[in-house]
Amino acid sequence: MYATGGRGTERFISKEIQERLGVKEKNILVRDGKVFFELPEVDYQVNQLLMLKCAERVFVAIKDYDNKSFLANKRCFLDKLMQELTLSINYTFAQKVLQQLYCCQFCGQRKEVEENAPKSEIEVGLNVIKRCSTDGSDFEVKLKKMRKVSSSHCTDLVGDGNDCESLDVSNDLPLTKSSGQREHDASSIRKNECASNVDSELSPTVVQEGACVLNRVCDDDELNADSLRDALQCGKCLGKIDGDSDGGDLTFRMSIKCSGKVRRWMDIARLSRDLAWRVSKASGWSSRLKNPAVEVCVHISDDHMTAGVPLTKLPLSKRSYITDPGLRAPVAWIMCHLAEVKVYQAGSHCVLDPMCGKGTLLLEACSEVKEAEYFGTDFDSTQLTTAAINVKKAGFVNNIELLSANSHKLPFRHEVFDVVLCDAPFDQKHSISGDADVFYFKFLSEICRVLRHKGRCVLLTSQALKDKVQSFMARDQDISKEDCHLSEFSRPPEHDATLGNQCVQLWLVSEHYVKLGETHACIMVLNKL
C-alpha cells in the first residue's frame, strides 16, 4: 500500500499510519511525496485506511521499482515497464484489497438499509425490485456490484475464499460482457426469491440495496436453510462467472504521470494505450475510458516507477465537511494536530483563527475535537459569508463562532484563548498592506496578547517570511528568565516605531517545511512564555 501527500507532509503521514493503523515504523518507507507501508491485516483495516487525514490519496500498489538502471535507453525502460505490468501476480493483492473495499462499502450501506428497513425483508426485497424496474441507469455497474457483494459474502459463509473468486488469468477475456452473459447473471440472481425483474435497466444504488436485502436473507438465522442454500448457490454461480471472466467486472482507465527527463521522450497517449491492454490481460479488469470503476495510476520519475490503484475516486483530502476549501485539508489537519487541541479534550478549549478566511482550519479542527469552542475572525466580510455557509453545511454551527475583526485589533480581552491557529498571508496571493515586518510584528503581538499563559500558536507562513517571524521571537535568554516575564507584556509598537529589539513573548517549539503547490511554506509551532 502507499499514500501520497504534499512534500513535507510525508513525516506526518507516516506518523498517522503508525498511530491509526498500528503499522510498525520499520514497515514504512518514506519517499518524496509517497509513503509506502505494509498492512498486516488489510481485511480489517480498509475503513481505517480511508480515515487517514494527512494523505492526499491512498493506493494499493501494483508495482514499484527503482528506475535508474533502466533509464539509459528508452527500449530498455519500456521493456521493463511492460514486463512488470504484464505479470498477473502483481495484481493479486490489489484485487483482494479492492474487493474488500467494495465489501466494506456495501456493509456500510447495508447497515443503513437495516436501520430504515420495514419488518419483512422479503417485502423490502420486493419493494426494491419494484423500484428497480422503474429506475433506469447503468446495468453493468449494478451487476458488478451485486456479484461482487454476493460472491464475497457467500465466501465468508462457506469460509472458502478461492472458490468464488478465481484470479486465474489464462484465457482471452471479453472486454465487455456479452448480452448472453448478462442474461446469465440476471437469471442467477433471479434464483433468489428477492430478485425478479432485474433484466431491465437498473440504477446501481437501488440494486445494491437489493443485494443488501439478498444478503440479509443469507444472514438471518431465522430464515430457513433453503433460502440460505439458494443464496449460496447464487453466490457460487456468480463466483463462477467471476472466474470465467477473470474478475473482468472491474473497469479501469490508465492514468500516467511522468516527471523528470522521462517526460521529454515519452508519448503518454501511446504508452497509455500500450499499457492498457497489458494491464487488462494481466489483471482481468476491462479497460474503459468513460467513468471506469478504478484508475490504474502509473507514476514515472527519474528515480522510480510506481503503479497503483487509488482506493477512492475522490482524494481522501476532499473532506465531506468542507465544501469550499481555502487551504489543503491535510495541511490544515497537520496544523490542528500540532496545536494539540486533543490534549485538553476533557476541559474547555478556546481556539481562535484570527484570519479564518473560508474557515477551513476551524472546520478541520472541529471535525477532530468537538468539545471545544472555535472562533474565527476575518476582516473580509465576503470570506466570512463563505465561512458561515461552510460551517452551516458541515453542521458545526454550535461549535464555531464567526466575527468581523481586524487581526491587528482583535476585539478580545487578554489571555482568553488556549490555542491560536492561523494561515498567515504569504504576501503572494494574499498581499500584505504596508510593510511585512510591521504587519507580522503587530499581528504576532496581538496573538500573544489574547493567548493564555503557556498557550500555543500554530502558524502557517511562507518559507521566505519564516525568518522574519523568528526574529520577533523571544531570545533564548528571555526563555531562561521565563518567570520574570510572566507579568510583563510587550505592547505592539506605534505605527512607525522601529521594531529594533522588541520581541513577542512567544518561542519556537518546532517548524515543519511543507510545499503548497509551488509555494514553499512553513508550519511554525509557537508557545507563549
Binding site: 466570512l384 468581523s404 480581552r413
Partner: protein, 125 residues
C-alpha cells in the same frame, strides 16, 4: 453570537477606550440553540468567564432567570444551576442586534449571528 463570545469581547480597540468591557447588548432577534450539556466543559469554561458580565448579558437578552448572583463553591453538585448557565452561555444566541461600547456608545452591529467589530480609520489608536 453566543454570550460566551460576548464575554470575551472588548471595545478597547477604539481610540481612547481603556477598558471597553462589558459591551452592552441590544438584541433584536434571539434564538436558543440545542447544544449538548457537558458538565466538565461548562465548569472549565466558567473559570475563564467574567460571571457578572455574563449574568448581566443574559438578563439583557431576556434569559437571565435563575442565574445566581454569585457562583458558589458547591456549583459542581448543582446540575440545575449548571444547566441554566450552560443555556445562557452556550445556547442563547443573538442573531440580530447591536453591541454597544460602554465608554463611547459606539455601536457594533450583529447581523446573521456575526458581530462586526471592524473600526473606521479615525477610530484606531
Amino acid at each position: 453570537m453566543k454570550l460566551l463570545t460576548h464575554n470575551m469581547l472588548t471595545s478597547n480597540i477604539i481610540k481612547g477606550v481603556s477598558n471597553g468591557f462589558p459591551l452592552g447588548i441590544v438584541a433584536n432577534k434571539v434564538e436558543v440553540k440545542d447544544v449538548d450539556f457537558n458538565q466538565s466543559f461548562v465548569l472549565k469554561t466558567l473559570s475563564k468567564v467574567d460571571w457578572n458580565a455574563l449574568r448581566q448579558a443574559a438578563t439583557q437578552v431576556g434569559h437571565g432567570d435563575g442565574l445566581p448572583e454569585e457562583l458558589g463553591e458547591d456549583l459542581k453538585e448543582n446540575d440545575d444551576v449548571l444547566k441554566k448557565i450552560h443555556n445562557a452561555m452556550l445556547q442563547v444566541e443573538v442573531v440580530e442586534g447591536e453591541l454597544v461600547c460602554p465608554e463611547t456608545g459606539r455601536k457594533f452591529p450583529i447581523s446573521n449571528g456575526i458581530p462586526n467589530m471592524l473600526l473606521l480609520e479615525h477610530e484606531l489608536q
